[in-house]
Symmetry: C2
DNA sequence: ATCGTTACCGGGAACGATTGCGTAAAAAAA
DNA sequence: TTTTTTTACGCAATCGTTCCCGGTAACGAT
């Protein structure tokens, strides 16, 4: 089954002109008489002519499409980012091809090869938790493929990057927990190789130290798949509670980890914040409806997508190789709700 | 800035062969000697040759890409569906271009034109709530563009469709409310033009009638934008509560409406299910963590995406025009949780 | 009458890959 | 040895579009 489109040849034949003339008439060239132009334009309109973008891509050696690789789209943060990416891309005549790594380095590489073989003009990437070898990224980048990293960036590759101040986000969240009166604050974070995991962990540690609380390694748990696998989070929580230092609060450093922790804590029959406080990074718009309403650190996801895309288009459309790269750092938002309200505090409130 | 890829010409020149020979060698043609093949294959591997898909698309008049139009991707149901679509598409060498209508008929048309001008080989569509004129769909379909509708389908266009038994889903949900002891059951649904809205409303009505409960029109509220605009849901709820027949339960017939209702009810200080019961269609994986845990009707979203894609690929790859279309109807899943537990019932449970 | 200019338009190569057809050389059959 | 067949490869067209060259009128100036 074929969908046959109208070509410039059809117009040329019908009007007794050459394809060159038709092409020029359509592009409003000065070498074509007004009458011919009118003729061509009207006929093109009539038969609903649209230039074949594939032929154009071949000719101009660009596809006007950009590739996006994220771990998964069924994730509030990423779907919001993609919204931002799309809005800018579409306004500039680019289309967006989305691929998911599902936190697998293999799938990520496959997607990468697939997208480049599809000749995308550029890439917007948030790397998977599993990725250790950035050789292919580097090779691509060295060969001139425009790449913008966001969220989970690759430090050793020099290109545009868009992130939030993860250190500050984590610092603020942890400080908030301290101020609420929590003492044994644990953290559940992403694979340690991830830039965001490192930064958020650093923020967590700094906040504890600055508040005179000792950092205990046994209160720091890593989830290699960023919470995509429930068992992983379950294991982390179990370990936390079987340690000598039982935590009285948890700072979760990623979307899936935050809701994952809540799920496991409830499954274990623990009350939040009664038995344990919880705060985490999240971009879900359902967090305030949860039981309990979750205190979260929220990222400006849509804006991040917009900025990343603008930077990428800048790279793509630049005449000469860009060497001056920038890293845009946005700020997170701390939303305080029930899940970090310590019991004593609650009691006090009721009394007053 | 350009990303220069290796072409068949580069290989030909380097090896002193013609492009035809190289092409045939790469495709393992019988007319090429084993030695030449080996030579070409090894060199191609060495310089990391990948055929240019754009050139192939031009030659074969197919792009090996499919377009998907949904109202928004930051929606559990649709992002899960897209996961299903992608998994099948990628396995078959197709890529997926996603576009969002954001419930606007204009944007939908724009996306449609954009995708077809991008020469996608086929389309998978869930129409927007606003769409009234299906002329463009029809035209495209008549001109041979393979289209598969899912979820929100277009009855008057004969092609493959993938839906759930919306009538039964709504019937089951409403029946469940009746069995819980609710008497004045309201429904908040999508724009009445949508296939799913009609079917779910019919299921709701039938369940009431079959249980000897009268259907009151003032207990039926429509949201033109399917809950994307909060004010819309707020207005619906306000109207319900200002009517003579104050509802004691609500059946929400779409993802955003379900969580939207919960949000508004809580904002109004109403307790669920204490003051009012709530059940609705939803595919969010957070519903059981909500306050209260939400009773929902869940659709097999991933599977729907898979089936839709398989059907589309079937259409695309069919040699002759397909005239025998099918509508796949899957079944929904009813998950009963706290939000539909009527107070009396609760009391009884505690007593026993 | 000849030249220069302007205005319009067509031929054909190119983008990268595939493929039908033609053909030289080598191998097999006569 | 001659003829036939097979093997192995190149030429050129094709997909839809753009664009570099040309080319040809018409017209005014010389």
């Amino acid at each position: 089954m074929k969908f046959e489109a109208v070509t410039i040849k059809d117009i040329a034949k019908a009007l007794g002109l050459s394809t060159s003339t038709v092409s020029r008439a359509l592009r409003d060239s000065y070498e074509i008489s007004p009458e011919t132009k009118k003729l061509v334009l009207e006929y093109a309109e009539k038969i609903n002519y649209h230039p074949n973008p594939i032929a154009l891509s071949l000719k101009e050696r660009r596809s006007r499409s950009i590739g996006v690789i994220v771990c998964e789209i069924a994730n509030s943060f990423f779907s919001q980012t993609i919204n931002g990416i799309e809005s800018i891309a579409y306004n500039n005549g680019y289309n967006v091809i989305i691929a998911q790594s599902r936190e697998s380095a293999d799938r990520e590489l496959l997607n990468l090869q697939y997208l480049t073989s599809r000749s995308v003009d550029g890439l917007i990437i948030s790397v998977s938790t599993e990725t250790k070898d950035f050789g292919y990224f580097r090779e691509l980048h060295d060969r001139g493929m425009p790449i913008v990293f966001f969220d989970r960036i690759v430090d050793e590759i020099e290109t545009h990057k868009v992130i939030v101040d993860n250190f500050k986000g984590a610092y603020d969240a942890t400080t908030h927990l301290v101020r609420c009166g929590y003492k044994r604050i644990a953290t559940v974070c992403n694979a340690a190789v991830l830039s965001i995991a490192k930064e958020r962990l650093a923020g967590y540690k700094a906040a504890l130290t600055d508040n005179g609380i000792e950092v205990h390694d046994e209160l720091i748990k890593y989830c290699q798949h960023g919470g995509m696998i429930t068992a992983e989070v379950e294991e982390a929580i179990k370990e936390l509670f079987s340690s000598r230092q039982k935590p009285d609060a948890i700072f979760a450093s990623a979307d899936k980890l935050t809701t994952g922790c809540l799920r496991i804590l409830k499954a274990k029959g623990l009350s939040v914040p009664g038995d344990i406080g919880l705060i985490g990074f999240s971009n879900s718009d359902l967090t305030e409806l949860l039981d309990p309403p979750l205190s979260i650190i929220k990222q400006p996801a849509f804006e991040m997508g917009e900025i990343a895309t603008n930077l990428l288009l800048q790279l793509i459309e630049s005449k000469r190789p860009v060497t001056d790269f920038e890293t845009r750092v946005l700020t997170t938002e701390l939303l305080i709700r029930e899940s970090t309200k310590k019991q004593k505090q609650k009691a006090k409130e009721i009394a007053s």
